[in-house]
Protein backbone atom coordinates (compact mmCIF):
# COMPACT_ATOMS: atom_id res chain seq x y z
CA UNK A 1 0.00 0.00 0.00
CA UNK A 2 1.35 3.33 -1.07
CA UNK A 3 -0.43 5.55 1.44
CA UNK A 4 1.37 8.72 0.39
CA UNK A 5 0.26 8.26 -3.20
CA UNK A 6 -3.35 7.74 -2.19
CA UNK A 7 -3.35 10.72 0.13
CA UNK A 8 -1.75 13.07 -2.36
CA UNK A 9 -4.16 11.89 -5.08
CA UNK A 10 -7.18 12.42 -2.86
CA UNK A 11 -5.88 15.86 -1.91
CA UNK A 12 -5.29 16.88 -5.56
CA UNK A 13 -8.73 15.65 -6.60
CA UNK A 14 -10.35 17.39 -3.63
CA UNK A 15 -8.85 20.68 -4.74
CA UNK A 16 -11.10 20.43 -7.80
CA UNK A 17 -14.20 19.92 -5.65
CA UNK A 18 -15.20 23.63 -5.74
CA UNK A 19 -15.22 23.53 -9.55
CA UNK A 20 -17.35 20.36 -9.57
CA UNK A 21 -19.74 21.96 -7.10
CA UNK A 22 -19.89 25.11 -9.20
CA UNK A 23 -20.92 23.20 -12.32
CA UNK A 24 -23.37 21.18 -10.27
CA UNK A 25 -24.91 24.15 -8.48
CA UNK A 26 -25.43 26.37 -11.51
CA UNK A 27 -26.53 23.45 -13.65
CA UNK A 28 -29.18 22.48 -11.11
CA UNK A 29 -30.26 26.07 -10.47
CA UNK A 30 -30.70 27.04 -14.12
CA UNK A 31 -32.19 23.62 -14.78
CA UNK A 32 -34.77 24.16 -12.04
CA UNK A 33 -35.75 27.49 -13.58
CA UNK A 34 -36.12 26.01 -17.07
CA UNK A 35 -37.99 23.02 -15.63
CA UNK A 36 -40.56 25.28 -14.01
CA UNK A 37 -41.18 27.06 -17.31
CA UNK A 38 -41.47 23.71 -19.09
CA UNK A 39 -43.92 22.36 -16.52
CA UNK A 40 -45.97 25.52 -16.77
CA UNK A 41 -46.00 25.23 -20.57
CA UNK A 42 -46.99 21.60 -20.35
CA UNK A 43 -49.96 22.47 -18.16
CA UNK A 44 -50.93 25.52 -20.20
CA UNK A 45 -54.00 25.82 -22.39
CA UNK A 46 -51.98 26.66 -25.51
CA UNK A 47 -51.48 23.64 -27.67
CA UNK A 48 -48.23 24.98 -29.14
CA UNK A 49 -46.69 25.43 -25.70
CA UNK A 50 -47.70 21.92 -24.73
CA UNK A 51 -46.19 20.47 -27.88
CA UNK A 52 -42.96 22.42 -27.43
CA UNK A 53 -42.59 21.25 -23.86
CA UNK A 54 -43.28 17.66 -24.84
CA UNK A 55 -40.80 17.77 -27.73
CA UNK A 56 -38.14 19.32 -25.51
CA UNK A 57 -38.49 16.58 -22.92
CA UNK A 58 -38.45 13.92 -25.64
CA UNK A 59 -35.22 15.21 -27.21
CA UNK A 60 -33.27 15.85 -24.03
CA UNK A 61 -34.29 12.67 -22.25
CA UNK A 62 -33.81 10.51 -25.31
CA UNK A 63 -30.18 11.25 -26.11
CA UNK A 64 -27.03 10.85 -24.02
CA UNK A 65 -25.72 13.89 -22.15
CA UNK A 66 -22.31 13.24 -23.71
CA UNK A 67 -23.78 13.84 -27.18
CA UNK A 68 -25.46 17.01 -25.94
CA UNK A 69 -22.21 18.37 -24.51
CA UNK A 70 -20.29 17.60 -27.71
CA UNK A 71 -23.03 19.16 -29.81
CA UNK A 72 -23.11 22.36 -27.81
CA UNK A 73 -19.34 22.67 -27.45
CA UNK A 74 -17.88 21.46 -30.75
CA UNK A 75 -21.00 21.48 -32.90
CA UNK A 76 -22.37 24.99 -32.45
CA UNK A 77 -18.96 26.64 -32.74
CA UNK A 78 -18.79 25.52 -36.36
CA UNK A 79 -21.42 28.04 -37.39
CA UNK A 80 -20.04 31.41 -38.39
CA UNK A 81 -23.13 33.18 -37.17
CA UNK A 82 -22.65 31.70 -33.71
CA UNK A 83 -19.02 32.80 -33.62
CA UNK A 84 -19.84 36.27 -34.91
CA UNK A 85 -22.74 36.79 -32.56
CA UNK A 86 -21.92 39.11 -29.71
CA UNK A 87 -24.57 37.49 -27.52
CA UNK A 88 -24.05 33.79 -28.20
CA UNK A 89 -20.29 33.58 -28.54
CA UNK A 90 -19.23 34.97 -25.15
CA UNK A 91 -21.34 32.20 -23.60
CA UNK A 92 -20.59 29.39 -26.02
CA UNK A 93 -16.84 29.97 -26.29
CA UNK A 94 -16.38 29.14 -22.65
CA UNK A 95 -16.26 25.38 -21.94
CA UNK A 96 -17.58 26.02 -18.44
CA UNK A 97 -20.71 27.80 -19.68
CA UNK A 98 -21.20 25.14 -22.35
CA UNK A 99 -21.16 22.37 -19.76
CA UNK A 100 -23.44 24.20 -17.38
CA UNK A 101 -25.81 24.90 -20.25
CA UNK A 102 -25.86 21.25 -21.35
CA UNK A 103 -26.37 20.04 -17.78
CA UNK A 104 -29.12 22.56 -17.12
CA UNK A 105 -31.01 21.76 -20.31
CA UNK A 106 -30.67 18.05 -19.65
CA UNK A 107 -31.80 18.12 -16.04
CA UNK A 108 -34.65 20.50 -16.90
CA UNK A 109 -36.20 17.79 -19.07
CA UNK A 110 -36.09 15.20 -16.28
CA UNK A 111 -37.16 17.61 -13.56
CA UNK A 112 -40.13 18.94 -15.49
CA UNK A 113 -41.42 15.37 -15.81
CA UNK A 114 -41.04 14.93 -12.06
CA UNK A 115 -42.90 18.19 -11.39
CA UNK A 116 -45.64 17.28 -13.82
CA UNK A 117 -46.12 13.94 -12.10
CA UNK A 118 -46.23 15.63 -8.70
CA UNK A 119 -48.79 18.19 -9.85
CA UNK A 120 -51.02 15.46 -11.17
CA UNK A 121 -50.67 13.45 -8.00
CA UNK A 122 -52.13 16.23 -5.84
CA UNK A 123 -55.47 14.82 -4.66
CA UNK A 124 -58.58 16.43 -6.17
CA UNK A 125 -60.49 16.71 -2.89
CA UNK A 126 -58.60 19.64 -1.34
CA UNK A 127 -58.57 21.49 -4.69
CA UNK A 128 -62.33 21.11 -5.02
CA UNK A 129 -62.81 22.18 -1.44
CA UNK A 130 -60.72 25.29 -2.10
CA UNK A 131 -62.79 26.02 -5.20
CA UNK A 132 -65.96 25.61 -3.18
CA UNK A 133 -64.57 28.13 -0.71
CA UNK A 134 -64.23 30.55 -3.60
CA UNK A 135 -60.44 30.77 -3.45
CA UNK A 136 -58.96 32.55 -6.48
CA UNK A 137 -56.77 30.37 -8.73
CA UNK A 138 -53.50 31.91 -7.61
CA UNK A 139 -54.22 31.53 -3.94
CA UNK A 140 -55.37 28.00 -4.59
CA UNK A 141 -52.07 27.24 -6.30
CA UNK A 142 -50.03 28.93 -3.59
CA UNK A 143 -51.78 27.46 -0.57
CA UNK A 144 -53.09 24.09 -1.70
CA UNK A 145 -51.41 22.74 -4.81
CA UNK A 146 -47.83 23.99 -4.46
CA UNK A 147 -47.12 22.76 -0.91
CA UNK A 148 -48.51 19.32 -1.66
CA UNK A 149 -46.77 19.04 -5.05
CA UNK A 150 -43.46 20.13 -3.53
CA UNK A 151 -43.64 17.42 -0.94
CA UNK A 152 -44.60 14.82 -3.54
CA UNK A 153 -41.83 15.87 -5.92
CA UNK A 154 -39.05 16.04 -3.40
CA UNK A 155 -37.98 12.34 -3.24
CA UNK A 156 -37.70 11.99 -7.02
CA UNK A 157 -36.18 15.44 -7.43
CA UNK A 158 -33.51 14.76 -4.82
CA UNK A 159 -32.55 11.61 -6.72
CA UNK A 160 -32.29 13.65 -9.90
CA UNK A 161 -30.05 16.19 -8.20
CA UNK A 162 -27.79 13.45 -6.88
CA UNK A 163 -27.55 12.04 -10.39
CA UNK A 164 -26.40 15.47 -11.51
CA UNK A 165 -23.29 15.34 -9.33
CA UNK A 166 -22.04 12.42 -11.32
CA UNK A 167 -23.00 14.03 -14.59
CA UNK A 168 -20.48 16.78 -13.82
CA UNK A 169 -17.77 14.19 -14.52
CA UNK A 170 -18.55 14.53 -18.22
CA UNK A 171 -17.23 18.10 -18.16
CA UNK A 172 -13.76 16.60 -18.38
CA UNK A 173 -14.33 15.85 -22.08
CA UNK A 174 -14.38 19.57 -22.88
CA UNK A 175 -11.08 20.42 -21.12
CA UNK A 176 -12.54 21.40 -17.75
CA UNK A 177 -10.37 20.27 -14.87
CA UNK A 178 -13.08 19.30 -12.42
CA UNK A 179 -12.58 16.26 -10.18
CA UNK A 180 -12.74 13.68 -12.97
CA UNK A 181 -10.48 15.82 -15.17
CA UNK A 182 -7.90 16.10 -12.41
CA UNK A 183 -8.13 12.37 -11.73
CA UNK A 184 -7.49 11.68 -15.40
CA UNK A 185 -4.56 14.08 -15.46
CA UNK A 186 -2.96 12.30 -12.48
CA UNK A 187 -3.65 9.01 -14.18
CA UNK A 188 -1.82 10.22 -17.30
CA UNK A 189 1.16 11.36 -15.29
CA UNK A 190 1.46 8.30 -13.08
CA UNK A 191 -0.03 5.59 -15.30
CA UNK A 192 -1.84 4.09 -12.32
CA UNK A 193 -5.49 4.30 -13.41
CA UNK A 194 -6.99 1.93 -10.88
CA UNK A 195 -5.58 3.60 -7.78
CA UNK A 196 -6.44 7.08 -9.02
CA UNK A 197 -9.97 6.14 -10.04
CA UNK A 198 -10.58 4.48 -6.69
CA UNK A 199 -9.60 7.69 -4.91
CA UNK A 200 -11.90 9.77 -7.11
CA UNK A 201 -14.68 7.23 -6.57
CA UNK A 202 -14.42 7.58 -2.81
CA UNK A 203 -14.75 11.35 -3.05
CA UNK A 204 -17.80 11.16 -5.32
CA UNK A 205 -19.35 8.67 -2.92
CA UNK A 206 -18.80 10.97 0.06
CA UNK A 207 -20.17 13.91 -1.90
CA UNK A 208 -23.31 12.06 -2.93
CA UNK A 209 -23.80 10.71 0.54
CA UNK A 210 -23.72 14.18 2.04
CA UNK A 211 -26.14 15.57 -0.55
CA UNK A 212 -28.49 12.63 0.03
CA UNK A 213 -28.37 13.27 3.81
CA UNK A 214 -29.14 16.93 3.24
CA UNK A 215 -32.20 16.12 1.18
CA UNK A 216 -33.40 13.48 3.63
CA UNK A 217 -33.30 16.22 6.26
CA UNK A 218 -35.31 18.64 4.10
CA UNK A 219 -37.82 15.90 3.39
CA UNK A 220 -38.13 15.18 7.10
CA UNK A 221 -38.73 18.82 7.89
CA UNK A 222 -41.35 19.15 5.16
CA UNK A 223 -43.47 16.22 6.24
CA UNK A 224 -44.17 16.47 9.96
CA UNK A 225 -47.65 15.00 9.42
CA UNK A 226 -46.21 11.77 8.02
CA UNK A 227 -43.98 10.97 10.96
CA UNK A 228 -45.11 8.13 13.20
CA UNK A 229 -46.84 9.42 16.30
CA UNK A 230 -44.85 9.41 19.53
CA UNK A 231 -44.92 5.95 20.99
CA UNK A 232 -47.50 4.98 23.55
CA UNK A 233 -44.91 4.17 26.19
CA UNK A 234 -43.68 7.73 26.16
CA UNK A 235 -46.53 8.87 28.32
CA UNK A 236 -46.06 11.94 30.40
CA UNK A 237 -44.32 10.80 33.48
CA UNK A 238 -45.76 11.81 36.77
CA UNK A 239 -43.96 14.77 38.21
CA UNK A 240 -41.54 13.54 40.82
CA UNK A 241 -42.54 14.65 44.22
CA UNK A 242 -39.57 16.73 45.05
CA UNK A 243 -41.31 19.98 45.45
Amino acid sequence: MDTDFYLSTIWSVLKALPLTLEIWFFGVLIGLFVACILTWMRASAFKLARIFSQAYVFVFRGSPLLVQIYLIYFGLSQFDFVRNSSILWPVLRDPMYCTILAMAMNTAAYSSEIFRGALRAVPVGPIEAAKAFGMPALTRFRLIILPMALRLALPAYSTEIILMTKATALASVVTIMEMMGVAQKIQHDTFRPIEVLTCAGLIYLALNFSIARLFAMVEYLLSPHLRPPPEQSQQIKPVPEVL
Binding site: F74, S77, Q78, R83, R93, P95, V173, T175, M177, Q184, K185, Q187, H188, D189, F191, R192, P193
Partner: protein
Protein backbone atom coordinates in the same frame (compact mmCIF):
# COMPACT_ATOMS: atom_id res chain seq x y z
CA UNK B 1 -31.80 -28.14 -20.41
CA UNK B 2 -32.06 -25.47 -23.05
CA UNK B 3 -31.01 -22.86 -20.56
CA UNK B 4 -27.96 -24.77 -19.43
CA UNK B 5 -26.88 -25.18 -23.03
CA UNK B 6 -27.11 -21.42 -23.47
CA UNK B 7 -24.99 -20.89 -20.41
CA UNK B 8 -22.38 -23.34 -21.64
CA UNK B 9 -22.31 -21.64 -25.02
CA UNK B 10 -21.95 -18.17 -23.61
CA UNK B 11 -19.26 -19.33 -21.22
CA UNK B 12 -17.40 -20.82 -24.18
CA UNK B 13 -17.77 -17.60 -26.12
CA UNK B 14 -16.39 -15.70 -23.16
CA UNK B 15 -13.34 -17.88 -22.86
CA UNK B 16 -12.58 -18.12 -26.56
CA UNK B 17 -12.82 -14.38 -27.00
CA UNK B 18 -10.23 -13.84 -24.29
CA UNK B 19 -7.27 -15.89 -25.39
CA UNK B 20 -4.21 -15.98 -23.18
CA UNK B 21 -1.37 -14.16 -24.88
CA UNK B 22 1.20 -16.78 -25.73
CA UNK B 23 4.88 -16.02 -25.44
CA UNK B 24 5.81 -17.10 -28.96
CA UNK B 25 4.31 -13.91 -30.47
CA UNK B 26 2.32 -15.25 -33.40
CA UNK B 27 -0.05 -12.33 -33.18
CA UNK B 28 0.71 -8.91 -31.81
CA UNK B 29 -1.95 -6.34 -30.94
CA UNK B 30 -0.95 -2.78 -31.71
CA UNK B 31 -2.82 0.28 -30.43
CA UNK B 32 -3.15 3.50 -32.40
CA UNK B 33 -5.32 6.50 -31.85
CA UNK B 34 -6.77 6.56 -35.36
CA UNK B 35 -7.15 10.33 -35.37
CA UNK B 36 -3.57 11.62 -35.52
CA UNK B 37 -3.10 12.60 -39.12
CA UNK B 38 -1.14 11.58 -41.06
CA UNK B 39 0.58 9.25 -38.60
CA UNK B 40 -2.53 7.15 -38.17
CA UNK B 41 -6.06 8.06 -39.12
CA UNK B 42 -9.40 6.46 -39.84
CA UNK B 43 -10.71 6.40 -43.40
CA UNK B 44 -14.36 6.41 -44.39
CA UNK B 45 -14.61 2.62 -44.24
CA UNK B 46 -13.43 2.66 -40.64
CA UNK B 47 -9.96 1.31 -41.41
CA UNK B 48 -6.88 2.84 -39.81
CA UNK B 49 -4.31 4.02 -42.36
CA UNK B 50 -1.24 6.26 -42.26
CA UNK B 51 2.53 6.51 -41.92
CA UNK B 52 2.72 4.31 -38.84
CA UNK B 53 0.40 1.69 -40.33
CA UNK B 54 2.78 1.34 -43.29
CA UNK B 55 5.78 1.00 -40.98
CA UNK B 56 3.91 -1.52 -38.87
CA UNK B 57 2.90 -3.67 -41.83
CA UNK B 58 6.47 -3.60 -43.11
CA UNK B 59 7.97 -4.49 -39.73
CA UNK B 60 5.43 -7.24 -39.05
CA UNK B 61 6.13 -8.83 -42.42
CA UNK B 62 9.83 -8.87 -41.56
CA UNK B 63 9.11 -10.29 -38.08
CA UNK B 64 6.76 -12.87 -39.63
CA UNK B 65 4.03 -12.18 -37.10
CA UNK B 66 0.45 -11.20 -37.60
CA UNK B 67 -0.27 -7.70 -36.39
CA UNK B 68 -3.72 -6.55 -35.36
CA UNK B 69 -4.43 -2.84 -35.03
CA UNK B 70 -6.87 -1.65 -32.38
CA UNK B 71 -8.11 1.90 -31.93
CA UNK B 72 -7.45 3.41 -28.52
CA UNK B 73 -7.88 6.98 -27.39
CA UNK B 74 -4.52 8.63 -26.77
CA UNK B 75 -5.09 9.20 -23.09
CA UNK B 76 -5.48 5.47 -22.54
CA UNK B 77 -2.56 4.13 -24.58
CA UNK B 78 0.06 3.88 -21.81
CA UNK B 79 -2.28 2.64 -19.03
CA UNK B 80 -3.77 0.23 -21.58
CA UNK B 81 -0.33 -1.03 -22.57
CA UNK B 82 0.80 -1.66 -19.01
CA UNK B 83 -2.58 -3.18 -18.14
CA UNK B 84 -2.14 -5.61 -21.03
CA UNK B 85 -4.94 -4.43 -23.32
CA UNK B 86 -2.45 -4.55 -26.22
CA UNK B 87 1.25 -5.29 -26.77
CA UNK B 88 2.62 -2.34 -28.73
CA UNK B 89 1.71 1.33 -29.06
CA UNK B 90 2.55 3.27 -32.20
CA UNK B 91 0.99 6.70 -31.94
CA UNK B 92 3.62 9.32 -32.69
CA UNK B 93 4.92 8.77 -29.18
CA UNK B 94 8.11 10.61 -28.23
CA UNK B 95 10.78 8.66 -26.39
CA UNK B 96 11.22 10.43 -23.05
CA UNK B 97 12.96 9.63 -19.80
CA UNK B 98 9.73 10.09 -17.90
CA UNK B 99 7.93 7.46 -19.99
CA UNK B 100 10.94 5.13 -19.89
CA UNK B 101 10.25 4.71 -16.17
CA UNK B 102 7.03 2.89 -17.05
CA UNK B 103 7.50 1.49 -20.54
CA UNK B 104 10.23 0.71 -23.07
CA UNK B 105 10.71 2.06 -26.56
CA UNK B 106 12.00 0.79 -29.87
CA UNK B 107 14.73 2.68 -31.71
CA UNK B 108 13.25 5.91 -33.10
CA UNK B 109 11.64 5.73 -36.55
CA UNK B 110 11.02 9.43 -36.91
CA UNK B 111 11.78 12.71 -35.30
CA UNK B 112 9.45 15.62 -35.14
CA UNK B 113 10.05 18.93 -33.39
CA UNK B 114 7.18 20.64 -31.67
CA UNK B 115 5.73 23.91 -32.90
CA UNK B 116 2.90 26.40 -32.55
CA UNK B 117 0.16 27.32 -34.99
CA UNK B 118 -2.10 30.32 -34.73
CA UNK B 119 -4.34 32.54 -36.80
CA UNK B 120 -2.41 34.28 -39.60
CA UNK B 121 -4.19 37.55 -38.94
CA UNK B 122 -4.28 37.29 -35.16
CA UNK B 123 -2.10 39.00 -32.57
CA UNK B 124 0.16 35.96 -32.22
CA UNK B 125 1.09 35.76 -35.90
CA UNK B 126 4.21 37.80 -35.20
CA UNK B 127 5.64 35.59 -32.46
CA UNK B 128 9.43 36.14 -32.21
CA UNK B 129 12.04 33.67 -33.43
CA UNK B 130 9.72 32.48 -36.19
CA UNK B 131 10.85 29.23 -37.75
CA UNK B 132 13.96 29.04 -35.58
CA UNK B 133 14.86 25.54 -34.34
CA UNK B 134 15.71 25.51 -30.64
CA UNK B 135 17.53 22.41 -29.44
CA UNK B 136 16.72 22.00 -25.75
CA UNK B 137 19.33 19.28 -25.29
CA UNK B 138 22.05 21.94 -25.57
CA UNK B 139 20.51 23.92 -22.72
CA UNK B 140 22.51 27.01 -23.70
CA UNK B 141 21.91 30.75 -23.37
CA UNK B 142 20.29 30.79 -26.79
CA UNK B 143 17.51 28.38 -25.85
CA UNK B 144 17.00 30.11 -22.49
CA UNK B 145 16.53 33.45 -24.22
CA UNK B 146 14.09 31.93 -26.71
CA UNK B 147 12.05 30.34 -23.91
CA UNK B 148 11.94 33.61 -21.99
CA UNK B 149 10.71 35.50 -25.04
CA UNK B 150 8.11 32.83 -25.66
CA UNK B 151 6.88 32.99 -22.08
CA UNK B 152 6.63 36.76 -22.28
CA UNK B 153 4.72 36.69 -25.55
CA UNK B 154 2.31 33.94 -24.53
CA UNK B 155 1.53 35.51 -21.15
CA UNK B 156 -2.21 35.57 -20.55
CA UNK B 157 -2.96 33.69 -23.77
CA UNK B 158 -4.96 30.48 -24.18
CA UNK B 159 -2.74 27.62 -25.30
CA UNK B 160 -4.25 24.32 -26.49
CA UNK B 161 -2.40 21.02 -26.47
CA UNK B 162 -3.09 17.30 -26.09
CA UNK B 163 -3.08 15.62 -22.68
CA UNK B 164 -0.26 13.38 -21.64
CA UNK B 165 2.04 14.47 -24.49
CA UNK B 166 5.55 15.92 -24.51
CA UNK B 167 3.86 19.22 -25.32
CA UNK B 168 1.82 18.89 -22.12
CA UNK B 169 5.00 18.32 -20.10
CA UNK B 170 6.58 21.30 -21.86
CA UNK B 171 3.48 23.34 -21.07
CA UNK B 172 3.56 22.29 -17.41
CA UNK B 173 7.18 23.33 -17.13
CA UNK B 174 7.38 26.53 -19.17
CA UNK B 175 3.91 27.91 -19.89
CA UNK B 176 1.48 26.98 -17.14
CA UNK B 177 2.47 29.77 -14.76
CA UNK B 178 2.09 32.51 -17.37
CA UNK B 179 -0.54 31.29 -19.85
CA UNK B 180 -3.80 29.42 -19.51
CA UNK B 181 -3.14 25.91 -20.80
CA UNK B 182 -6.08 23.82 -22.04
CA UNK B 183 -5.53 20.08 -22.33
CA UNK B 184 -7.53 18.28 -25.03
CA UNK B 185 -8.19 14.58 -25.46
CA UNK B 186 -7.25 14.65 -29.12
CA UNK B 187 -5.15 16.96 -31.28
CA UNK B 188 -7.95 17.69 -33.73
CA UNK B 189 -10.05 19.03 -30.85
CA UNK B 190 -7.52 21.80 -30.22
CA UNK B 191 -7.42 22.46 -33.96
CA UNK B 192 -11.19 22.87 -33.95
CA UNK B 193 -11.04 25.19 -30.97
CA UNK B 194 -8.24 27.21 -32.58
CA UNK B 195 -10.37 27.68 -35.67
CA UNK B 196 -13.34 28.57 -33.49
CA UNK B 197 -11.21 31.08 -31.61
CA UNK B 198 -11.52 29.52 -28.17
CA UNK B 199 -7.74 29.24 -27.91
CA UNK B 200 -5.10 31.63 -29.30
CA UNK B 201 -2.45 29.09 -30.20
CA UNK B 202 -2.18 25.31 -30.58
CA UNK B 203 0.95 23.38 -29.68
CA UNK B 204 1.82 19.98 -31.20
CA UNK B 205 4.27 18.15 -33.46
CA UNK B 206 5.25 19.94 -36.67
CA UNK B 207 4.49 16.81 -38.70
CA UNK B 208 0.99 16.69 -37.32
CA UNK B 209 0.43 20.38 -38.07
CA UNK B 210 1.56 19.88 -41.68
CA UNK B 211 -1.54 17.73 -42.04
CA UNK B 212 -3.74 20.28 -40.27
CA UNK B 213 -2.52 23.17 -42.42
CA UNK B 214 -3.13 21.20 -45.62
CA UNK B 215 -6.86 21.11 -44.89
CA UNK B 216 -9.17 23.62 -46.57
CA UNK B 217 -10.79 24.76 -43.30
CA UNK B 218 -7.37 25.72 -41.90
CA UNK B 219 -6.62 28.38 -44.49
CA UNK B 220 -6.36 31.11 -41.85
CA UNK B 221 -3.81 29.21 -39.75
CA UNK B 222 -0.02 29.20 -39.99
CA UNK B 223 3.08 28.20 -38.04
CA UNK B 224 4.16 30.88 -35.61
CA UNK B 225 7.18 31.30 -33.36
CA UNK B 226 10.09 28.93 -32.82
CA UNK B 227 10.22 25.14 -32.94
CA UNK B 228 11.65 23.04 -30.15
CA UNK B 229 13.33 19.65 -30.07
CA UNK B 230 15.47 17.41 -27.87
CA UNK B 231 16.25 17.63 -24.18
CA UNK B 232 14.78 15.54 -21.39
CA UNK B 233 11.23 16.72 -22.06
CA UNK B 234 10.95 16.36 -25.80
CA UNK B 235 13.28 13.38 -26.18
CA UNK B 236 15.40 12.09 -29.04
CA UNK B 237 12.60 10.99 -31.38
CA UNK B 238 9.49 8.93 -31.91
CA UNK B 239 9.32 5.19 -31.37
CA UNK B 240 7.03 2.26 -30.67
CA UNK B 241 6.27 1.52 -27.02
CA UNK B 242 6.44 -1.86 -25.28
CA UNK B 243 5.85 -3.26 -21.84
CA UNK B 244 9.07 -3.56 -19.85
CA UNK B 245 8.52 -7.31 -19.53
CA UNK B 246 8.39 -7.94 -23.28
CA UNK B 247 12.10 -7.59 -24.08
CA UNK B 248 11.93 -10.42 -26.65
CA UNK B 249 9.23 -8.68 -28.66
CA UNK B 250 11.09 -5.40 -28.44
CA UNK B 251 14.29 -7.01 -29.76
CA UNK B 252 12.44 -8.64 -32.66
CA UNK B 253 10.79 -5.33 -33.48
CA UNK B 254 14.04 -3.37 -33.30
CA UNK B 255 15.81 -5.76 -35.63
CA UNK B 256 13.03 -5.55 -38.21
CA UNK B 257 12.72 -1.77 -37.85
CA UNK B 258 16.48 -1.32 -38.25
CA UNK B 259 16.33 -3.25 -41.51
CA UNK B 260 13.39 -1.17 -42.73
CA UNK B 261 15.22 2.05 -41.84
CA UNK B 262 18.46 0.89 -43.49
CA UNK B 263 16.97 -0.10 -46.83
CA UNK B 264 15.06 3.16 -47.12
CA UNK B 265 11.55 1.74 -46.72
CA UNK B 266 10.63 4.02 -43.83
CA UNK B 267 11.96 7.02 -45.74
CA UNK B 268 9.73 6.04 -48.64
CA UNK B 269 6.65 5.98 -46.38
CA UNK B 270 7.67 9.32 -44.93
CA UNK B 271 7.88 10.90 -48.39
CA UNK B 272 4.53 9.39 -49.23
CA UNK B 273 2.69 10.70 -46.17
CA UNK B 274 4.58 13.86 -45.22
CA UNK B 275 6.25 14.84 -48.51
CA UNK B 276 9.45 15.25 -46.45
CA UNK B 277 11.88 12.85 -44.83
CA UNK B 278 11.24 12.79 -41.09
CA UNK B 279 13.40 9.78 -40.28
CA UNK B 280 16.44 11.86 -39.36
Amino acid sequence: MKLSRWFALSALALISSAPAMAKDWKTVTVAMEGSYEPWNMTDASGKIVGFEVDILNDVCARMKVECKIVAQDWDGVIPGLTAGKFDVVMDGMSITEERMKTIDFSIPYASSPVAFIANKNGPLAKLSNAGKMIDLSKDDADSKAALDTLRKELAGKNVGLQVSTTEATFGDKYLKDVASVHEYKTTDEHDLDLMAGRIDVAFADTTYFLGTLAKPDAKDLAFVGPQFKGGPILGPGIGAAFRKTDKDLQDMYNKALKAALDDGSVKKYSMQWFKIDITQ
